[in-house]
Amino acid sequence: MSGYRYLLNRLGWAVLTILFVIVLNFFLFRILPGDPARAGIRDPRLTREAVEAIRVRFGLDRPVINCFESLNPLRFGDCAVNPLQTQFFIYISNLLRGEFGFSYHSNRPVIDLLVERLGNTVLLIGAGEILAILIGLTIGVIAAWKVRTPVDYSALVSSLVAWSLPTFWLGIILLFIGSREFNLPIGGKATPGGGFTSSWEYYRDIGRHMILPTLTFTIVFVGEYMLIMRSTMIEVLSEDFILTAKAKGLRAFQTLKNHALRNSMLPMVTIIALNLGFIVAGAIQIETVFSWPGIGQLIYEAVGRRDYPVLQGAFMIIAVSVIFANLAADLLYSVLDPRVRAE
């Protein structure tokens, strides 16, 4: 498939998936007992202005979707209703405008909350991922090179154990030890009550708060990257062109660097992006344990308070991000592998 057709194909696919998620999101929150729009109106925490806003924004007096007044499939409504006037369409147009509703808890627009928190999550995830990738890939390469030696076996065992640890539990243990033995902060992003005399001090403070959560994140994911790199590398090193490289008299290190590494990176790129789903799961747990003010913690709080608009909005953002990450991985892979770029 030529370059452009491939791009369009993948893009179209991503769009389709997002549509699916949008529809899923819409119906989930309407069908299940916790129907936010209707429950929301009765929720005593909302102010009257907010209730009115919801009524208008979500069009609760309008039919849900053509032919069905509500989601009760047995009760038909008006099929001739203007589809643009249904709740479903209103929902979609709201989404496109970034209108995610209001938080039950704080009455603030959900979108604001999401934007605030997203940066913090990205910071934490970013640091952890970079470390996990660097360390994991390096160990993976070494383990593959020295396959079936004690070096390899110990790396394997460590990775298996690391994979079996529940993320939140690892966080708890590290927090326990870290706060007691090493005087590391017990949570949050920065020391409350600031009083920093310079930006440098502020960043340093954030850095101290990041140590334990980043460490947790790294340990959880390093094992996986190590295992994947190792098996990819072993596969690549079994290919015939490696024997050719060896026959050419290249030193082992040269062969690794110039032949094996390049060819192993291709699958790694895809894996890293495909991992985003798990990264999100890890972020939710880590942010909860360390009270890190990111989207993960937002979800945790929203769950506890049954703050459905926030939950719905966060889920959308996360799902869409993961889908785009996958798309990016696909495209990146096609750029890197000359075989896919069949001119």
Binding site: W169, E239, G277, V280, R306, L311
Partner: protein, 309 residues
């Protein structure tokens, strides 16, 4: 699957498994966990569901003679909680994964066997479900419904089938093209018959290995959901123990005995599953891992030579 031994019966699989050390260790770990769960009432010194009268000293009491692993935030014996907690974790893990395996296996076989539009639609659907992140979806689903064990089992089950579906489908595809299947179809064997007699036996061993890994994922998922407060608060599970301990000040109280054992239990079971799963995979796919840059003990290994020419 070049070079892998054929297992036409599960018994054949077992015979090979018995020789695989990794798998045996894993199996032993799991058996121990299951026995603990089954004989919980006999092993646990106290009944976690029995009400207790406590004083302030009984909260987060350190390990002692009366409470080998100390007490939790409600004065209950941690060891007993731990032992009983294994039941919930294992039950949820097993049942949820059975749902996943069933759905995944069904989709995989149907997609692989019937091909065409059926396969395309099913696999596209699988791809979509694969992309959507598991934990956020699970959190949303459970949050929207009542937090109960049944809900959790159901939710984990309907989210976790994608890996199995892909695996089963690719295995079905490869079996479908084998000679004996083509012969069966040539003599007019009906599809359900072929699936039952030929495809299923060749797919099952792989599914068994996959099941073990799915179970480990389900147990991790359950413990995470419980920790996040999405499980039935009246039921003792390892995740729930950690939820209480974390949200009710075990950290500041220095009560490591409330924090370590439940996690240890989870790690034990998950590690057991992982080892067993890897062991099974080694048996099903015996590969001698080596490559062109691997160094043997020494390629030039001449013994003392005879007199040179």
């Amino acid at each position: 699957m070049q070079g892998s031994p054929e297992f036409t019966t599960l018994r054949g699989l077992w015979r090979h498994m018995a020789r695989n050390k990794l798998g045996l260790v894993g199996l032993g770990m799991l058996v121990l966990a299951v026995l603990t769960a089954v004989f919980a009432p006999a092993i646990a010194p106290y009944d976690p569901y029995a009400p207790v009268k406590i004083t302030i000293d009984d909260i987060y009491a350190a390990p002692s003679q009366t409470h080998l692993l100390g007490t939790d935030d409600a004065g209950k014996d941690v060891l007993s909680n731990f032992v009983y907690g294994s039941r919930v974790s294992l039950i949820v893990g097993f049942f949820a994964s059975f749902i996943s395996i069933f759905i995944g296996g069904l989709i995989g076989i149907v997609a692989g066997f019937y091909g065409g539009w059926t396969e395309t639609i099913l696999m596209r659907f699988t791809d979509i479900m694969l992309v959507i992140p598991d934990l956020p979806l699970a959190v949303v689903l459970v949050a929207l419904t009542k937090p109960s064990l049944l809900n959790i089992i159901f939710v984990i089950g309907i989210i976790g089938w994608t890996g199995t579906a892909r695996l089963v489908r690719s295995q079905t595809l490869s079996v479908k093209e084998r000679k004996f299947v083509l012969r069966a179809r040539a003599i007019g064997a009906g599809r359900p018959y072929i699936v039952r007699r030929h495809i299923l036996p060749m797919v099952l061993p792989l599914m068994v290995a996959n099941t073990v890994l799915v179970i480990s994922l389900a147990i991790l998922e359950e413990s995470t959901l419980s920790f996040l407060g999405l499980s039935d608060p009246t039921v003792v599970s390892w995740g729930q123990m950690l939820n209480y301990a974390f949200t009710r000040g075990a950290m500041s109280a220095g009560a490591w005995w409330a924090l370590v054992p439940p996690g240890f239990g989870i790690v034990w079971v998950v590690l057991g599953c992982t080892l067993l799963g890897h062991g099974m995979e080694q048996v099903l796919n015996p590969r001698l891992e080596t490559h062109h840059l691997a160094v043997g003990k020494g390629m030039v290994a001449r013994r003392k030579e005879t007199a040179a020419q």
